[in-house]
Amino acid sequence: MFLRPNLYTSYEAEVQILPTYTKKVLAAIGIILLLLIPFDIPLITSATDLPLLRNIPVISNGIPPLRFLGDNSWLRVLDEALIFGIAALGINILTGMAGQVSLGHAFFMGVGAYSGAVLGGVSTSSVWGWNLPIWIWLPGAGIGAALVGIVVSPVAVRLRGLYLAIVTLGLVFLGIHMSNTTWGRHIAGDPGLGRDFPKYDIRLWKEEAPLITINDDGKWFGFLDVTDNQKKYLFLAVLFLVFILLAKNVARTRTGRALQAIRDRDIAAEVMGVPEFKYKLIAFATSSFFAGIAGALFASFAGKLPASQFSLALSVEFIAILLIGGVGTVSGTVMGTFFVVLTPKFVESFTEWLADKTDGGGVSAKLAEVVISTGPGNQGPISSAIQTPGYPLNVFDWNLVLYGVLIILFLIFEPLGLYGIWIKIRNYWKRWPFSY
C-alpha cells in the first residue's frame, strides 16, 4: 500500500520481490545500467579526462568505475561472472536454501555442458553431435543435468553434511574419469584438447544463416555498431536476469519455504508435513538445472574445453562464492559471484600496475619493488610472471591464497558474507535513530 509499506492486505503483497515504489525504481535503474555496461557512452567516459581522476591507477589503466566498459577485456570477465552467477544461484538453492552441502556442482555443470554439446554440437568422426538449435540444446543441457541430479538425490536423503559433501565430491572424479572412456570420448572429445561446443547463435532450425547472430560483429538499427563480445554480454545479461527472477521465485514459494524448513531441521520439517524426499529431489533437480545451463553457456563461451576443467577447483570456487557472498540469499550469491570472479582481474591489474611502477622512480617504485618480483633478483612476494621458478607466487596462486584467507575471515567474522555486511549497514540506517 502506498505510504504504508508494512500494511499487508494479502500474502501476495507480503512476498513481493519489489514491494515499494523506491525499490522498483532502483531495480529498473540497476537493470538499465547492467544492460548499458557494454556500450561506450562518451559522457561518462569523459570522466577519465578529468585531471584528478586520471592519476588514480585503476582509471589510468582504462577501467574507470564511472565509465561504461565498451568492448574491452573487462567485458569478458563480466561475461564469465554472469555465467558463474547462474551456476551460483543454482548451488545457492541446494546448499544455501536446502542446506545440502554439495561439492559436485562442477560435475553437474559438466553434465550440462556435454548434454548441450551432444544436442547442439557439430558431429565429426570422433565426437557425436546433432546440430540442434539453441532453443533445444540450452534447455536440454539444463534438463540433462537435472535428470542426473534426480538420480543422485536419494543419496542426500540418507547422508547429511560432510558425508554428503564427500559423495558429491566423488561425482566430480567419476565425471572426469568417465569422459576418458571410449564412449566418453565420443561426447567429451580428446582429454587434452576437448571438443568444440555449439555457439550462442539463435536459429529456428538447422538453417545456414542464423536468425540472430551473436558470434559476429554487426550493426543494430542501421547505426549502432556492436561487437560479438557486446552481443554475448547482452545475451548473458538477459539470461542472468531471468535466472535471478527464477531463483527469487523459488525462494518465496511453498517450495522455497519447504527447503528452508529442511535446512533448519529436516526431522522437524518432516514432522510438520514437509516430505523430505520430495523436496530434496526438487532441490537437486533445480540446482542441477541451473548448473547445467551455466555449464553449457560456459563451455560455449570458451569454445573448446577439456573435460578436466569441470574439476574440484571449480566446485570449491562456488563454495567460496556462497560463503563470501552470503549463504541462502539471492542477493548475497550475486554479490559473491561478482566479488570472486572479478577479484583476480583486479589483483592482476594491480600487479601489472605495480610492475609498471618499478620501472619508474621515487617512493612508489621502492614500494612496488618490495611487493613485486619482476626478475630473479627481486624477491617480492608477488611474481609478475606466470611461471616462476623461485618462491614468489604468481598472480593466480595469490588469488587462491586470497580466497582461502577470505573464506576463513568471513567464516569467523561475518558468517553471512557480503550480504551480512550489507544487512548490518542497512539495519543501522533502518533502525535509525535507535539501535533496536
Partner: protein, 622 residues
C-alpha cells in the same frame, strides 16, 4: 457534511431519526466498495468493505430479532476490539436495542454485577475466557441472559450450555429471519426515536460500583456533530474516508467508542483493529494512522519508549539523538508559547529535526502520517505533550466524560494552550460554579440518567438541569479551561491547605521509571506518596548496573532503586510549592491490577481500595 443533510425522509414521509446504524447503512449505500474496517488475521490485514460491513450488521440485526430482542432490550458485549464488536453494537442499535460494553479485563464478579444490573438478554462473550466468567457466576445470578454468542470456537465445543450460540450460526439465524421477514430490520430502524437509549456506558467506578450512563440517539448525534465532524478541531479538516484509525482501547469506554465507532459511521475513515494491547506499537507502525487517540498512559509509554531506546542507542546515534531531542524540546516550547502555531524559528528547527531524527522516530512510533492526535480520559503531564508537539505530532488535549457524551472542551487548531483542556465546543453550555469551582455543562449530549439509579442521577444534576462533572476547574485567559482535579481527590491537609494530587502524580509519572503514583495527605501534616515502579524500565536500569533481582517486590526493595526514585521525587518537589512537596514515599510491593481491585478497568487508581490494601505502608510514612 452535516447530519441534517444525511437525514432523509422515510417511506412513511416522517423524518427518519439518525442513528449510528442508519449512518452505517448510508455509507454502505453510497460507497459500498470502500474499506470500512481491517483486522489482522494470520499476519495479513483482512479488509471489510462498507458493503460487507452493512450486510453483516443487517444480518446480525436479523439474528437479534430472531433471538427475540425487543426495543429497549440490552445486548451486552464482552470482547476485545474486533469487527464483531462494532457489527453487534450497530446491529443492536438498528433493532432499537441497547448496547452494553464490558471491559475485556472485567473479572467474573464484575461481569456478574454488570449483567445483573443491566439485565442484558443477549450476551456476546468472544471466547472461552470470557464465557467462563459468565458460567462461573451460575445461572441464577444472571437470569435474564437467554443467549450467549461466541466467536472463537476454541475450547467451546461440547459445552453443556443451551444458551451458547456460535457467531456463524447466529448469522445463519439472521439470514433465515431475513428470508422470512425481509423488512423487519428496516421497520425497526424507521421506528427509532431520538430519545431511544442506544447504549449504556458503565463508568469505571473509582469510588463505588460502576453506574451505567444511558446515552440516547440524540446524544450520539450531538457528539458526532460536535466532536467527529468539527472542522476546527482537526488540522486539515474533519476526518474523511481517507483517514486511518487504529482501534485498540476498550470499545466499551466512551472515548474509544467515539473515536472508533462513531467516527467511522460519522465520517467514514478506516478502522484498523490492533491485534492486542501488547502489539499496539507494531500495529501502529504498520498502519501509520492519520488520526490517533490515546489515553495519557499510552502517551507516557510512547514517551518512555523513545527515551529508553534513545538511551540504548549506539554512540553516534546517541549523539545525534541528543541533538534531535534537544531540538524537539525547543520546538515544543516555542509552539506551546505560540498557541500551537509554528514560528519562523521553530519551522527551521523542525526542518533540521525532520531530516535527522523526527521522520524516522515518528515512523517508529507509528505517528509519521498522523495529522491529528489527541489525549483525553485522564490528566496528562504537559512535558509529555510538549515532547510530542516538538516531534511534530499535532497532539491536542481534550476533555469530556461519559455523562456528557465526552462533549465539553477541546483545544482547537491554532488556539492551543498547554496545561489546559481547551475551550468549550461552540454552542454548548459550560460554566464553573463559583462556590465549589466545579465544572458544569448543559447541552444535547448530556445523558438522560444512570440505568436504574434515579437517585444517583439526581445527585449529578443541578436544580437548573446542569450536569455536575465532579471536576474542579478554572478559566485560563477567560477562554480555556484548566482542570485542577476531581473534587473528591482534592486533599485538605491538617494545616488546611487545598492540594490537587493529580498534578504531583502526573509530574512523577513523567519519569519512565514511575508507572503509578498516589499522593496521600488528607488530614495529615504533610504529603506522602505511594509509588509503583515500571518493571520494564527499572529492570533494564538494574541490569545495566549489574543489579540482580528476582521479582517485582525484590526490585522495589533494592536500596539503589529507592535512591533512583528519591531523585525523581526530589526533581518533582522542586517544581511545586513547599506545602505541595512529597516529604516521604514508599514503593509499592506489587504491581497494581484490575483483578485485585486496586485499579479500575481503565487503569485508574481506586483510592479507597488502595488505602485499605496499603494502609500499613501509608501509616509507616507518618
Amino acid at each position: 457534511m452535516t447530519l441534517t443533510e444525511q437525514s432523509k425522509p422515510a417511506a412513511s414521509g416522517a423524518i427518519e431519526v439518525t442513528t449510528v446504524a442508519s449512518l452505517a447503512r448510508d455509507w454502505a449505500a453510497r460507497t459500498p466498495n470502500q474499506i470500512a474496517m481491517r483486522e489482522k488475521d494470520f499476519g495479513v490485514w483482512k479488509e471489510y468493505t462498507w458493503g460487507t460491513t452493512w450486510d453483516l450488521i443487517e444480518t446480525a440485526a436479523h439474528g437479534l430479532l430472531a433471538l427475540g430482542v425487543e426495543p429497549g432490550d440490552r445486548v451486552s458485549i464482552h470482547a476485545e476490539d474486533r469487527p464483531e464488536w462494532i457489527i453487534l453494537d450497530l446491529a443492536a442499535v438498528a433493532v432499537r436495542g441497547i448496547t452494553v460494553g464490558f471491559y475485556p479485563t472485567n473479572p467474573s464478579a464484575e461481569v456478574r454485577y454488570l449483567l445483573a444490573d443491566s439485565g442484558a438478554c443477549v450476551h456476546f462473550a468472544e471466547d472461552e475466557e470470557q464465557y467462563d466468567k459468565v458460567e462461573g457466576v451460575g445461572r441464577t445470578a444472571v437470569p435474564d441472559v437467554r443467549s450467549i454468542i461466541f466467536v472463537e470456537p476454541r475450547g467451546m465445543v461440547g459445552k453443556p450450555d443451551e444458551r451458547l450460540l456460535f457467531w456463524d450460526n447466529f448469522l445463519d439465524l439472521g439470514r433465515q429471519h431475513k428470508a422470512q421477514h425481509p423488512t423487519a430490520v428496516a421497520d425497526r430502524m424507521a421506528a427509532a426515536r431520538p430519545d431511544d437509549v442506544m447504549t449504556l456506558v458503565y463508568t469505571s467506578g473509582t469510588t463505588g460500583p460502576p453506574k451505567g450512563a444511558m446515552l440516547t440517539n440524540t446524544n450520539a448525534a450531538f457528539c458526532i456533530d460536535k466532536i467527529v465532524n468539527s472542522g476546527e478541531r482537526v488540522p486539515g479538516g474533519p476526518p474523511n474516508p481517507k483517514d486511518q484509525i487504529v482501534t485498540y482501547l476498550p470499545l466499551c469506554h466512551v472515548a474509544e467508542r467515539i473515536f472508533s465507532t462513531w467516527t467511522m459511521v460519522g465520517a467514514g475513515p478506516v478502522l484498523n483493529f490492533a491485534e492486542s494491547i501488547e502489539t499496539v506499537n507494531d500495529n501502529l507502525r504498520e498502519v501509520q494512522p492519520t488520526i490517533f487517540f490515546a489515553v495519557p498512559r499510552i502517551w507516557e509509554k510512547l514517551h518512555a519508549l523513545s527515551l529508553i531506546r534513545a538511551n540504548d542507542a549506539s554512540w553516534f546515534k546517541r549523539k545525534v539523538l541528543a541533538i534531535g531531542l534537544g531540538l524537539a524540546k525547543r520546538i515544543g516550547r516555542i509552539k506551546v508559547a505560540n498557541d500551537g502555531n509554528h514560528t519562523m524559528q521553530s519551522r527551521i528547527l523542525a526542518a533540521i529535526g525532520w531530516v535527522i531524527i523526527f521522520r524516522p522516530m515518528r515512523e517508529r512510533l507509528g505517528l509519521r502520517r498522523c495529522r491529528y492526535a489527541s489525549s483525553g480520559a485522564a490528566a496528562i503531564a504537559p512535558e509529555v505533550l510538549e515532547f510530542f508537539i516538538g516531534l511534530g505530532v499535532p497532539v491536542f488535549e481534550l476533555y469530556g466524560m461519559t455523562e456528557n457524551a465526552a462533549v465539553a472542551t477541546a483545544n482547537f487548531v491554532g488556539r492551543m494552550k498547554l496545561g489546559t483542556v481547551g475551550e468549550p465546543y461552540p454552542g454548548i453550555g459550560l460554566r464553573i460554579a463559583e462556590d465549589t469551582g466545579e465544572i458544569q455543562v448543559k447541552h444535547e449530549g448530556v445523558f438522560v440518567g444512570y440505568w436504574n439509579k434515579p437517585d444517583k442521577t439526581a445527585e449529578t444534576m443541578t436544580d437548573d438541569g446542569w450536569l455536575m462533572t465532579g471536576d474542579v476547574g478554572e478559566w485560563v485567559d477567560g477562554t480555556h479551561v484548566r482542570i485542577i482535579d476531581r473534587i473528591k481527590h482534592i486533599i485538605i491537609t491538617s494545616g488546611g491547605k487545598n492540594i490537587s494530587p493529580s498534578e504531583i502524580e502526573n509530574s512523577l509519572k513523567t519519569s519512565p521509571y514511575v508507572n503509578e503514583a498516589m499522593v496521600i495527605g488528607e488530614g495529615r501534616k504533610y504529603l506522602t506518596a505511594l509509588i509503583g515502579i515500571e518493571l520494564d524500565t527499572v529492570g533494564d536500569w538494574a541490569l545495566r548496573r549489574n543489579l540482580a533481582y528476582t521479582t517485582y517486590r525484590d526490585l522495589s526493595e533494592k536500596p539503589e532503586v529507592i535512591e533512583l526514585i528519591e531523585l525523581i521525587v526530589q526533581a518533582t518537589n522542586e517544581k511545586f510549592a513547599r506545602v505541595e512537596n512529597v516529604r516521604k514515599f514508599a514503593l509499592l510491593p506489587k504491581q497494581l491490577d484490575h483483578e485485585d481491585g486496586e485499579l479500575t478497568a481503565t487503569q485508574k487508581l481506586k483510592r479507597t481500595a488502595m488505602l485499605d490494601t496499603f494502609g500499613d505502608l501509608v501509616e509507616s510514612l507518618y
